[in-house]
């Protein structure tokens, strides 16, 4: 199993540009998450999904959009990049149920200049 795969690993965007961060998992997990990690701030939840076709906002959704057309894929879209979106982004997946752990992708380091 590849687990959770994120692409790209690094990206530099100019202010106002858009991009999609890709996330795919091959573990047939229903739950998927997008987090951003800023220094000293821990992980902040951007969006999550409890299954194909179902998404919801997390703690910091502004400036982002997601879709979940399949169980495997959960892309994160930045429409108008801003410097405040400079961060490391992690995708995670988790099986359904209370007693389960999350599996993380390698992360995408995004810089907006």
């Amino acid at each position: 199993n590849a687990g959770v795969t994120q692409t790209p690993k690094f990206r530099i965007l100019k202010i106002g540009q858009s991009m999609t961060l890709q996330c795919t998992q091959d573990m047939n997990h229903n739950y998927m998450y997008w987090y951003r990690q800023d220094p000293g701030m821990g992980l902040k939840l951007i969006y999550y999904s409890v299954g194909a076709g179902i998404t919801d906002k997390g703690e910091v959704p502004n400036g982002y959009n997601v879709s979940r057309s399949t169980t495997e894929d959960f892309p994160l879209r930045l429409e108008l990049a801003a410097p405040s979106q400079t961060s490391v982004y992690f995708c995670a997946s988790r099986p359904t149920g209370h007693n389960t752990e999350a599996f993380f992708g390698q992360g995408t380091r995004l810089t907006v200049v």
Binding site: Y33, G40, G42, Y48, H98, N99, E101, A102, F104
Partner: protein, 114 residues
Amino acid sequence: AQSVSQHNHHVILSEAASLELGCNYSYGGTVNLFWYVQYPGQHLQLLLKYFSGDPLVKGIKGFEAEFIKSKFSFNLRKPSVQWSDTAEYFCAVNVSNSNYQLIWGAGTKLIIKP
């Protein structure tokens, strides 16, 4: 609102020193508890987890954590650290009224001096 507190943002130790990283959560119901580790330049990996049963859980690389329900705590310990333990450590909690959400602490950066 539920929250997770990690008391130390930065910890510096010498090799062979003992380690204890604090984690407290605010939620009165049933919880599942996790410690994740992030080595420099890498993604988060599970170190250990508590779901039920023996409150002293053992994880990988000699780490252990103790769940003390009365103190709402899940502190991480290691008797003798190594240089390779240099990493950032995150505590996370899954509360019983939310199957899908994990609540994360801010993380503790651990630096081990050789």
